[in-house]
Amino acid sequence: MNRARLLRRLPWLILALLLLAEPLAHHHAYFGLDGWFGFNPLYALLANGVLAGLALLAGPLLRRKEGP
């Protein structure tokens, strides 16, 4: 495997390792939901998805032609 390919795969590898480390954690749930298995990755996915979607949808609406 060449270096560039390894670098491309590294983030996914880290993500997989972080998911695998989840069973070892004893989360203290403050609000119920946050104690669920895999809450953090799923919540981050949701938050980033919503933000990216908002940026893609609202971007053209919020952009005006004239300068600042």
Binding site: A25, H28, F31, A47, A55, A58, G59
Partner: protein, 578 residues
């Protein structure tokens, strides 16, 4: 000249050490002296913040300088844990900013920056409302001049900036006057939002905190300053406002709502923006939103978190703005669509930017993690589910909107336009300023007790580096990084400015103001013309009747006189007839 003046300066420093004046005043005096002795640039810009930093730590708790004024007691110097923390952060920002600006900034900018920093320290270490207000207004003046020194575009922005801050100052002044007039204490302390004066003070402070609706001045003004000017601007104004909110309005629920709105606004706009320094300006609003939310929570841990986050934010935001400023200075470009691939040419700047970006993302072992975690924990402890979930979502998206995005857009991503051949790291003095901030971004992460020991409230048994907490944070950031990586090309900002609330006062507001002034001017002209016409008419009437040839001056015929006497006597008879 230095040989002659340097012993004098050292003598003054010794005198200051002995007398312990309000430390901010030394910076203000240095700022005013700099244009007179520009050759002492290095001594004043670097040496003075160091001296001030040392003096800040000599100030004991409680009032130190006090004198009566009218029926009040002025306290321009008062030691407190929170004041010392903010003053320390301000002095470090002045030092790092001064190092960064030393070789490039105009004397006017450096002079104004020293006054600006000194006034911010004056707010932090002042104990009464009048001292606070005087330093507050001096800050507005200093910051406007820092902005003004940035060039042609910056001058227009500085006019808009000063108008907003004078408006905020008027609100604050009216509030303070109302508070004092209704028998309130002259000493700065918590206020209940039951009196109109407290609302006015809150409104005035919120203007400087970039809270809604007057939040767009940050993104309007800061990116227009010089590369070093933006660094100074990012450190003081919003953070002094955070400090005053901290002192006066802890636990006010409205602040939670405003803070969360600021967090969301900053993130969305930073993601859509294409100007590197404007991205950072929006992110200032977002990060200040965390602090405002924490103050709104109001528990000791939340307040400690707000103060810690202000300290950390001053370090990493100044570092990020230095990196973006160094890129601007090296390439002359500000739009990310024209940048990229600069890491081989500016490796040290790239490292500095990455450290700042990781710290703003609250990666474990950075200052941002040490400070933001306290706020999250405080929200959880207070059982504020909505606040915790929203702040966690904001933390989770940090990589997407800035943490990985900015270093990638500027340094590590493919060049979207060939960089100029001379693009290189800034000079050694600027790199020294960046190195100082890199240290501040990392040290509280590795040794959180260093930061926690300075906080106004103890963090108790809070454990930053538990396995669960670090794992949770790494998971949030890793997913955010993955989403960024997948969408990095699709989320490239398009050209053009963004609609924001400043549009209302910059376009229709301006037209309304100009139209209003024209109407008032027109009315004045009409009024003057009308008054003049009436005056001339009266003059003519007076001359006609009372002049030398006027009717009343003539000798009337006897018959006519007798007739008028008869008429007047008849009238009298009629009036008095019963």
């Amino acid at each position: 000249m230095n040989v002659v003046l340097l012993p004098g300066l050292l003598l003054l420093a010794g005198l200051a050490w002995w007398l312990l004046p309000p430390p901010g005043w030394l910076l203000i005096a240095g700022g005013l002296a700099l244009p007179l002795w520009p050759r002492l640039r290095a001594e004043l810009v670097v040496g003075l913040p160091l001296l001030v930093l040392a003096l800040i730590w000599q100030v004991p708790d409680g009032p130190l300088w006090q004198w009566p004024y009218l029926s009040y007691t002025l306290t321009p110097l008062q030691g407190s844990a929170v004041g010392r923390l903010f003053a320390t952060a301000f002095a470090i920002a002045a030092l790092a900013g001064g190092l960064f600006a030393l070789r490039s900034a105009r004397t006017l900018e450096l002079s104004a920056a020293l006054v600006y920093a000194g006034s911010a320290i004056g707010v932090a270490l002042g104990g009464d409302w009048l001292s606070l207000f005087l330093h507050w207004e001096l800050m507005a003046l200093g910051s406007s001049l820092v902005l003004w020194a940035g060039g042609e575009r910056a001058r227009a922005a500085s006019f808009r900036y000063i108008f907003i801050h004078l408006f905020g100052g008027v609100l604050l002044m009216a509030g303070i006057a109302g508070h004092l007039a209704t028998g309130g204490s002259a000493q700065v302390g918590p206020l209940a939002l039951s009196a109109w004066s407290a609302w006015l003070i809150l409104a005035g402070v919120l203007v400087n905190a970039a809270a809604p609706p007057l939040w767009s001045w940050v993104a309007d003004a800061y990116p227009e300053a010089s590369p070093s000017g933006t660094v100074f601007l990012s450190a003081f104004t919003t953070k002094t406002a955070v400090l005053v909110l901290w002192l006066v309005f802890p636990g006010v629920e409205l602040l939670r709502v405003l803070g969360l709105i600021m967090v969301g606004y900053g993130i969305v706009y930073a993601l859509l923006e294409g100007d590197a320094r404007r991205i950072l300006a929006y992110s200032i609003v977002s990060q200040v939103g965390y602090m405002v939310t924490a103050i709104g929570i109001g528990s000791p841990l939340a307040l400690a978190g707000a103060a810690a986050h202000a300290f950390a934010h001053i370090a990493y935001k100044a570092l990020l703005l230095m990196s973006a400023g160094a890129v601007l200075a090296a390439t002359g470009r500000r739009q990310v669509s024209e940048l990229g691939g600069l890491a081989p040419r500016m490796p040290l700047t790239a490292i500095a930017c990455t450290v700042g970006a990781l710290s703003i993302s609250a990666l474990p072992w950075t200052a941002g993690f040490a400070s933001k975690s306290l706020i999250m924990q405080a929200a959880a402890d207070a059982e504020l589910g909505a606040v915790w979930f929203l702040l966690t979502a904001a933390s989770a998206s940090a990589s997407l909107y800035i943490g990985l995005r900015l270093p990638w857009l500027l340094f590590f991503g493919p060049p979207r336009r060939e960089p100029p051949p001379g693009a290189a790291d800034p000079p050694a003095s600027a790199l020294a300023g960046m190195a100082l901030l890199v240290l501040l971004c990392l040290l509280p992460g590795w040794f959180p007790e260093l930061l926690y020991g300075l906080l106004p409230y103890p963090v108790g048994d809070y454990r930053l580096y538990s396995y669960e907490h670090v794992l949770a944070q790494l998971q949030l950031l890793a997913v955010s990084a993955a989403v960024f990586w997948l969408l990095r090309e699709r989320l490239l900002p398009a050209p053009g400015a963004l609609w924001d609330l400043d549009w209302f006062y910059r376009h229709p507001g301006k037209r309304l103001l100009v139209g209003g002034i024209e109407r008032i001017a027109g009315f004045r002209v009409d009024l003057e013309r009308g008054v003049l016409v009436q005056w001339q008419r009266m003059q003519r009437w007076l001359v006609r009747y009372h002049g030398p040839q006027g009717r009343l001056a003539r000798t009337w015929p006897t018959g006519s006189m007798v007739l008028w006497v008869a008429v007047l006597l008849s009238a009298c008879l009629l009036f008095y007839y019963r």
